[in-house]
Amino acid sequence: MNLLVHLTYLAPVIAALAILLGLPARRTAVIAAVVALASALIVFIEYDRGQAGYQFASALSLVPVWDLKFYIGVDGLSATLLLLTSIVALAAVWIAPKVEEDENRYYACILFIAAGAAGAFASLDLFFFYAFHELALIPTFLMIGIWGTGNRQSAAWKITIYLSIGSIILLVGLIGLYLLPPAEQRTFDIVKLQQLASTGVFAGPGSRSVYILILIGFGVLVSLFPFHTWAPQAYASAPVPVAMLHAGVLKKFGLYGLLRVALPMMPEAARHWAWLLLILLAGNILFVGLATISQKQLDLTLGYSSVMHMGYVFLGIASYNVIGLNGAALLMLAHGLSIAALFAMCGELRKQTGTLNYLDLGGLGTSMPTLCFVFGLATFASIGLPGFANFASELLVFFGAFRNGIAGAAFNEFEIVGTIAIWGVVISAVYMLRAYRAIFMGERQARWQSVKDMPVSVGWAVIMLVAALLVVGMVPRTVLDAIEPGIRLFAK
């Protein structure tokens, strides 16, 4: 079992190296992605939901003096996210288009990005938790710069510099967290740190400054308002597999970090700064939401929408109760699947028509019936219609926010932001349905007569993602049963 956890990040790394050394790129990449998905699936199923905590753990001590280990293991939350990573990674590899030049490098970069995300979710050591995430930085830079579309060079610079500064802020915060306990208790071990938290060593005033560093660091990586401007442009310019992996999976790293590190270890500081997070996330939902409505291109609409939806996850996190946190965790999965599916189909549209501008498109529903149908499903999921996982999770998030309101006497800040967030659903319905109408409905222009429908290979990848959304949406308990015990350890 432990080996299977290791396989989720090792399979892509080994495959990437093998591809760089000359193995056939596409075949090796698909095999590695399937192996990783199978391992993640088995880990997710075999994870014992009866007992909370970390399972399948294995450690290799690296620096005993600092208590630094290479420590891999999962709990329900990380098992879920590993599953998300490997599903999206398989879909991304599967739909990757034919590359004329440097096919090896193209696939190796995709696999490194996937490996970075998987490694970060599986790490139980702060050092490697951080390090794995940054593994994706350089491949992303190369992918967008070489194979991107549109204004790719400026997008690549922007995302790289933004994320590197975010990461270094996060690094300083994590170092601060490491230094908070007295010298003899210092450790990078996340499990031990969480136990230490219950003894109150992180409670002092120092923890508030450390928390704000960590919140901003993670916030930049998750595109928290006002640090979000890197995201839409980068996703619009990135090659489809990168957009899928980055928007779908990698961005969840910051949220995962808040749930794994910041909240359990510094609960007092998290409550102290909740007001700030509430203001910023309202910016995500309202400001970015309105900005999304004004977009005139599908790729930018999707890019902005993925920034906007982060606001809901942050709302669940800010609420700091079991319902809200459950919702946040479930929404990470749901959003990852739905945005990956949408970006995959967006890439297909671009390939067939050469444009994503709403003014140029229209009436494509008759030429591309399958794409139109599946895109519709993904659109509904993204808006949060019942039946999809997004609905279940957004509902939980709203309940979580209002629960804090009931506990307080007056109409408090959680209720205010919760109300704004509910209106956010309307905003997202406006821009997604507008996009849908502009692309698929109406009069078909003569030049789109010969446009072909989505090929079967892309179809399968997208249907896999949408089917997962439906399954989780119908029976959210399959995932929540795994996530909830871990959350109950630090929240009420």
């Binding site: 630094l68 390090a131 593994l135 350089i138």
Partner: protein
């Protein structure tokens, strides 16, 4: 066996090579380089086996940091000699002599002598010995920097280095005399003992002396505002010598700086002010090095500014000297800096041997022309920028840790900004290699087997240090404190 034997051996090695140059006219000069490499490798093995202990001398210590920095000096010299073998063609181009071999011998001999000076500096705990070994290093660099005497840039570099370096030496000597005037001592440990008992009125005299010494060392480690010589000298000097300057000269400068700053901590009235000066120096160096690197288009100049920038990070660690791990942070950072900088220079030597100049545009499309060299340079740039799993990240991590422990929040904030700048200018090289199309000459670049092995070894070491930090920390159980 007294530890100083190793320095004497290295000195003898250099002299033997010079004698061979004079008397063995027929011998292939590249053999000289090999003699140097093998001899220094033997010294490295002895260093590896030696344990910290008493040296039997007052002015010379053989503690863990001394041994560690000697290893850095030796490894640097070995890599510089390897680079010089590949560089021999360029030397011949600029030194037309009577025989095809003339002028090469000294180019391989003098670095060995420099190495002896650096090893002494690592052990020196007396201002007299510090000064003498510093001069041994500096004077041999005078020769090396201006070595390509038919190349105007090299000559200009030589003159600049000569003048500014002598000026720096002047500062150092002046500072030493002030310190001697107040304490009547030149030995660092004696000074440390005497300091707390000097009259209050004399404290400013000691502070002035210490600041002068720090200014002198500031020239050696390329700290702003004493960095004026760096870009021009780095660009003009023969590339292996640039690498030698940026790694060797800097690392021994730092061990001396650490020892000097540590000495004055015994008198807080002086020590605290000295730390403030180091903080200001660090801030200026970080800002100048990283901001000035942004617009550079020549890789050698870029690396020159990056060398200034890295001096800034190292100074952060020196400013945190009260933390237990400060010396360790400096040492690990320098070890990482050695690997990644020498890797960049080694690849640069190989690429520019088949192109014109060292402009970044020469590297356009390198990913296609020479995938292996490009990958090596990619790793070097990632490490310089501080991406995890590389040695450079470990260095930055330790520096930020020390800064946090000593509450240097001003420097941390600056550091965050400058790391962001670093990502920009290091990735400019990556962009040239992978984004840009090949220009002009598209022929594949031949690489000698020796270079290839060295490049691979350096790449592996960079990852090894990044993934298994204990590998570096184990070399250095305790800092100089």
């Amino acid at each position: 066996m007294p530890p100083v034997i190793l320095e004497l051996f290295v000195l003898a090695l250099g002299i033997v090579i010079i004698l061979l140059e004079s008397f063995a006219e027929k011998m292939d000069r590249k053999v000289f380089a090999w003699i140097g490499i093998v001899g220094l490798a033997a010294v490295f093995l002895f260093l590896q086996a030696s344990v910290p202990g008493s040296s039997g001398m007052n002015s010379y210590v053989s503690d863990a940091p001394a041994i560690f920095f000697k290893k850095i000096a030796v490894v640097t010299t070995i890599l510089v000699l390897i680079m010089s073998i590949d560089y021999a063609g360029t030397i011949k181009r600029y030194l037309p002599g009577q025989t095809p071999q003339s002028g090469l011998g000294e180019f391989f001999a003098i670095p060995v002598l420099t190495c002896a000076g650096m090893m002494w500096m690592a052990s020196a705990v007396d201002f007299i010995l510090i000064f003498v070994s510093l001069e041994l290093v500096t004077i041999s660099f005078y020769v090396l920097v201006a070595y390509l005497r038919r190349n105007l840039l090299s000559l200009e570099a030589g003159v600049k280095y000569l003048i500014l370096s002598s000026l720096a030496t002047g500062f150092t000597v002046y500072g030493i005399t002030w310190i001697y005037g107040v304490t009547h001592q030149t030995n660092l440990s004696q000074i440390e003992q005497v300091l707390p008992s000097i009259p209050v009125g004399n404290q400013s005299g000691v502070l002035f002396g210490a600041l002068m010494v720090v200014i002198g060392l500031g020239f050696k480690i390329a700290a702003a505002p004493f960095q004026f010589w760096v870009p021009d000298v780095y660009q003009g000097a023969p590339t292996p010598i640039t690498a030698f300057l940026s790694v060797g000269s800097k690392s021994v400068g730092f061990i001396v700086l650490l020892r000097v700053v540590q000495t004055f901590q015994s008198l807080p009235a002086v020590g605290d002010k000295l730390i403030t000066a180091i903080i200001l120096l660090a801030a200026a160096t970080l800002i100048y090095g990283n901001l000035a690197a942004l617009p550079q288009t020549n890789l050698k100049r870029l690396l020159a500014y990056s060398s200034i920038g890295h001096a800034g990070y190292l100074l952060i660690a020196v400013a945190g000297i009260s933390a237990r791990d400060s010396g360790q942070a400096v040492a690990v950072y320098l070890a990482a800096y050695l690997l990644m900088t020498l890797l960049s220079f080694l690849i640069m030597v190989n690429v520019s041997a088949h192109g014109e100049g060292d402009d970044i545009s020469q590297f356009n499309g390198l990913g296609k022309r020479a995938p292996l060299l490009a990958f090596g340079l990619l790793v070097a740039m990632m490490s310089l920028a501080g991406v995890p799993f590389t040695a450079g990240f470990l260095g930055k991590f330790l520096v930020f840790k020390v800064a946090f422990e000593t509450h240097q929040f001003f420097l941390i904030t600056l550091g965050i900004v400058t790391v962001g700048c670093g990502f920009y200018f290091y990735l400019k090289v990556v962009r040239a290699m992978y984004w840009q199309p090949v220009q002009g000459d598209v022929a594949a670049i031949p690489v000698s087997r020796l270079s290839l092995v060295t490049i691979l070894a350096l790449v592996i070491l960079i990852f090894l240090l990044g993934i298994f930090p204990q590998f570096a920390l184990g070399l250095l159980p305790a800092g100089p404190n």
